[in-house]
């Protein structure tokens, strides 16, 4: 008899611990394990089960088999401490912060509590609302238990875990919210016990139904809030990254604009100086006039009517000239005035950099109004460049409703962009 109780107590322990661990895993699945997971995981699981056993012995055994308030208070203390100990064991396994551990444990515990609440509900309903002895191993009780686990855990996996696995969990910083969650789950544990106590004291089926329903909603609400917290954090992180990219673009453009202006001013001065010398009587002669022509040809300024486009054309024109690539452009800068300067700089920079890797000797660029919108055509002799180089261009074009297409033809790579009529 004693042996039977021992075995069934052990099975209850394994099943209860298993449900909590599985619930937490549903949230923590994407997190990285610490080195030495092979011994850390079993160690943490065994320790957690031991903690469960010890807490039960301390807080539940003395008041076991009662329906008095002491038994429920004991459970509350035991389960709360169990949740806190779970955070510790969690950190033994996963390489993450205390806050992320708190987040995962509360969310996992909520899933477990939702399941447990549902099980109690159906168990009581099966008994017609009357209090029943919680014999875990009757086929009916086992059936209800397993069904609830399958449904709740399955849904959680489909709705939460799959999302987390595809996006990752990352580090959570919203401490006040996580602290809130811990308090909420403690309230839910307490509430669950209150409902159990009331049910055991024959509160009646209708109030019990409402209380259980409320408990289920509280669990679902907590999970939703936790999930919301994750999604919001991700959106904020993305927005921060985007802001950084834009600021970086702005900075690069400003830098390029300033250096091009400085170079242009320098070339302008040299041209005038050489011109003055050449104009002076009898000095230099043909050689100087030749130099004047040369300097004139190498006048770097490209004036399209759009300062950002001028900057990027002048800048890339210099590197093209160094590499022996001729860049010819026909460009109506005014046509692209609907774009922010930093976007113009980044878009054309990305396209011209891609064209530069084609390896040919000629790149031509045409920007003109076409079909009520703007057409950009860049053609470079040589091989097709790596498509990844055009990623910034795709992003910027999409923001202005533009279409990008590329093709290779007659040994040349073409990229066309079309921005439809604005408005």
């Amino acid at each position: 008899m004693g042996g039977g109780i021992g075995i069934s107590a052990l099975m209850v322990l394994v099943l209860s611990v298993g449900r909590i661990v599985l619930g937490i895993w549903l949230i923590s699945a994407p997190l990285p394990l610490r080195d030495g997971a092979r011994w850390r995981v079993p160690l943490a699981l065994v320790s957690f089960a031991a903690a469960y056993g010890i807490l039960s012995l301390i807080f539940l055994a003395p008041v076991m088999n009662g329906t008095n308030a002491g038994f429920y208070t004991g459970q509350f203390v035991a389960f709360s401490l169990l949740l806190i100990s779970a955070v510790g064991f969690f950190l033994v396994i996963y390489d993450t912060s205390v806050w992320t551990a708190l987040f995962c444990c509360t969310a996992g515990y909520t899933i477990q509590n939702l399941t447990s609440g549902a099980t109690e509900l159906f168990w009581t309903l099966a008994g017609g609302g009357a209090p029943q002895s919680a014999d875990f191993f009757t086929p009916l009780r086992l059936g209800i238990s397993v069904s609830c686990v399958v449904v709740v855990y399955g849904l959680s996996f489909l709705l939460i875990t799959r999302y987390l696995l595809s996006t990752g969990l990352g580090r959570l910083e919203d401490r006040s919210m996580i602290a809130m969650m811990v308090i909420v789950i403690l309230l839910i544990i307490g509430f669950d016990l209150v409902v159990k106590w009331l049910t055991d004291h024959g509160v009646g089926i209708v109030p019990m139904l409402f209380l259980r329903l409320f408990h289920g909603l509280a669990c679902a609400f907590t999970l939703t809030m936790e999930f919301e917290l994750l999604v919001r954090r991700r959106v904020e992180a993305e927005r921060d990254t985007m802001r950084q990219v834009l600021a970086e673009r702005e900075r690069q453009y400003e830098q390029a604009r300033e250096s091009m202006a400085a170079i242009n001013a320098r070339v302008h001065d040299i041209r005038h100086a050489v011109g003055r010398i050449a104009d002076a009587d009898g000095v230099g002669g043909e050689a100087l006039r030749e130099l004047v022509r040369e300097v004139k040809v190498y006048d770097l300024r490209v004036l399209t009517g759009n300062e950002a486009l001028d900057t990027v054309l002048t800048e890339r024109g210099l590197t093209f000239a160094r590499d022996g690539v001729t860049l010819s452009c026909i460009a109506d800068g005014n046509a692209i005035s609907f774009m922010a300067p930093a976007d113009v700089y980044a878009l054309f920079g990305s396209v011209l950099d891609a064209a530069a890797t084609c390896g040919g000797a000629s790149v031509s660029l045409v920007v003109r109004e076409r079909l009520g919108g703007v057409s950009v055509h860049v053609e470079a002799t040589g091989e097709e460049p790596d498509a990844a180089m055009l990623r910034p261009a795709h992003g910027i074009a999409a923001r202005y409703g533009g279409t990008i297409s590329t093709l290779t033809r007659d040994g040349a790579w073409h990229i066309n962009l079309l921005f439809p009529a604005q408005g």
Partner: protein
Amino acid sequence: MHRILIVEDTPAEADALVACLERYGSERGVSFRVERLSSALDFMERRPSADLIFMDIDMPGVTGMEAAELLRTYDAETPLVFVTNLAQYAVHGYAVDALDFIVKPVSYQDFVPHMDRAMRAMARTVGRTVAIPTGEGTRVVRVSDVLYVDILRHDIYYHLAGEPDAVRVRGSIKAAEAALGQDFVRIAASCLVNMGQIRMVRRESVVMANGDELFFSRAKRREALEAINNYAGGSF
């Protein structure tokens, strides 16, 4: 046989261009008849017709840019390529709808990609025709005059420039697509559009030269926009 006109005041530069054309012609198996003019003024007085014009910008007296402006007042079609040592001036070539420009001194290696583009542009302006079998007999129309073709019940309708009534034909839009060629694009399963006759592209539709607005179907939109994009950029 393509008629090429070179307007260039420096004989050596004109010779270099002719040499490039000859080599290109023999390599690609195409023939050119080249005419040379030595000043923009000459060009403005004689207004010679050609399939492709190479124009120097920096000429004494009247510049090539001014000559091009005049050209566009009576001829919007003929492809124009500037040849210049002043890349800065050519940047504004869009104002006279210049196809391209070549920087002097012209090397053959540099010339080829520009000539490829010019050949594509010439191919577009050649006046191909298409035979439409109507109830009253076969009509022959210029392909460039076909605005768009659509289906209504089992008949297909050719909408032609300058004609208020569409021409009704029995047949399939697939056959029409094959006959009309690469300047046409399907923007919906039942609508085939001449890209050369599009006045405006909107996000969801195109407006044709006669003002008709035609909508992209969801399935064709992306593909059609890409084709129109490549056409507008001059890739074919």
